[in-house]
């Protein structure tokens, strides 16, 4: 439970992997928060004032002070609420290095190319995105092996920073399978990660915050229709 007097408000959007990531961190830490759904087509004054540099979600407002950028928010939660729930980042500086390195890789390489594959403006961009995504998945599979050392999670016996960081994608892995008939982490090419997805998704703290897959699928279809309409309108 958030310490007496701690007010946590999360400005988010249900489909955003970055927002899901923060919700996962809050859930694992056992912290209660006010969940504010933003209409990204009509951003609130609070969002614009809290994140003037990027005007994006997620933004965590803790006792009136905003924190922006999902990885920055997760680290902040871990540091400020260090006595509450599990520690997400390891204490040892050398172990922290691995967590930070792979977290950067997940966003800069894996997520970036996956988003390009989904949202690229040309077929070329999308194909290149897919190619880079598959390479990134291969690298992450090896990373999981190294980080987990045979244990169930990136963090070892229990969930850690990388599980929460990659956990951002779990609901979309299932939605992607429904939409494209293709799993981001499949049993053939990335068996360790495929098993991790199931294991992670079965945790109570995760089930409590993951969005409904059908809702994500409907959302993605709507976005695709919007993009198609915009393209033909030109």
């Amino acid at each position: 439970m958030a310490g007496g007097g701690d007010e946590l408000k999360l400005l988010g959007a249900f489909a955003s992997p970055f927002v899901i990531r923060v919700k996962l961190a809050l859930s694992f830490k056992g912290l209660s928060f006010e969940d504010v759904e933003e209409d990204l087509g009509n951003k609130s004054e609070l969002l614009l004032a809290s994140n003037p540099a990027q005007k994006k979600v997620p933004v965590l407002i803790h006792n009136g002070k905003p924190v922006c950028d999902s990885q920055v928010i997760v680290q902040y939660i871990d540091e400020v609420f260090s006595g509450t729930g599990p520690s997400l980042l390891p204490a040892d500086p050398s172990e922290r290095v691995a967590a930070r390195f792979w977290a950067a890789y997940i966003d800069d390489k894996l997520l970036a190319s996956w988003l390009q594959a989904a949202r690229g403006k040309t077929d070329e961009e999308k194909t290149e995105g897919m190619k880079q995504t598959l390479l990134a998945v291969e690298t992450m599979e090896a990373a999981f092996k190294t980080c987990s050392k045979g244990k169930p999670f990136f963090g070892g016996d229990s969930v850690g920073y990388l599980d929460v960081t990659l956990g951002a994608l779990v609901a979309w892995v299932h939605a992607g399978a429904a939409l494209y008939g293709m799993r981001l982490f499949d049993d053939a090419k990335s068996p360790l990660l495929a098993a991790w997805v199931e294991r992670f998704g079965a945790l109570d703290a995760v089930k409590a915050v993951l969005p409904d897959v059908n809702r994500l699928v409907e959302f993605a279809k709507m976005k695709q229709a919007q993009a198609a309409a915009a393209a033909t309108a030109q």
Partner: protein, 230 residues
């Protein structure tokens, strides 16, 4: 210090890389000695490829035989490992720390790409668009990053945000000279402009800067290459 005698620190780098300098400045803040290994990026050493198989890039810090890659990861590692030593790189307060980390990401994610595009594009609409995008992000920095009465974004000494912006203090004037147009003027960005001069003169930075004439030649060649191959 006993602590130092037991430690072996190596830095794999390249003389023109701003990310390498970020790490050099961080090591300087901590007063740490290290062995520097210059890499030929056209012919990478077996050691570099072994230490950074995922990205195959510099900088890589090797601490007692264990490699650390990615400049932001390295800088935070340096601050963690030598916590009680030298200056603070990340602030003490968790919220300030979060702000520092946020702005540290802003530079490579938002600011650097349009600046690079502006530098590597021939004069015209596309270059002007890149310049405007860069100016927009610089305006955000100027407005949101309050120096107040501080000399640096880290307070009275160089911190994470200063290190992240750092190379721009010498790179932007060079780009301006080569292109023949200004990006950061004192009138438009009084706070940033003043900070640039102070940063280059700051103790951890002033004796750890790249060879400027060589760098300028290199940048000129880079711009020519991009214009030719557009």
């Amino acid at each position: 210090m006993d602590h130092q005698q037991e430690e072996k620190v190596q830095l794999f780098g390249m003389w023109a890389s701003p990310y390498v300098y970020k790490v050099k400045w961080a090591l300087s803040i901590k007063g740490m000695e290290y062995e520097y290994v210059e890499e030929d990026l056209g012919n990478k050493s077996g050691q570099l490829l072994e230490h950074n198989p995922v990205h195959k890039k510099v900088p890589v810090l090797v601490y007692n035989g264990r490699p650390v890659a990615e400049s932001d990861v390295i800088v935070q590692f340096i601050d963690d490992v030598w916590k009680g030593q030298g200056g603070r790189i990340l602030p003490e307060d968790p919220h300030e720390r979060a702000m520092a980390r946020f702005w540290a990401r802003f530079v490579p994610d938002k600011l650097s790409p349009p600046i690079w595009k502006w530098f590597t594009t021939a004069g015209g609409e596309e270059q002007e668009a890149a310049r405007e995008a860069a100016v927009e992000h610089l305006r955000v920095l100027e407005a949101e990053l309050n120096l107040g009465r501080n000399e640096f974004f880290g307070g009275d000494s160089v911190g994470l945000v200063d290190l992240s912006l750092g190379a721009l203090a010498y790179v932007i004037p060079m780009y301006e000279e080569i292109i023949g147009a200004r990006l950061i003027t004192e009138e438009m960005f009084p706070s940033l402009y003043a900070w640039m001069g102070r940063f280059l003169a700051a103790p951890p930075v002033k004796d750890h800067l790249p060879p400027m004439e060589e760098l300028k030649l290199r940048f000129r060649a880079i711009r020519e290459y991009f214009l030719k191959n557009a």
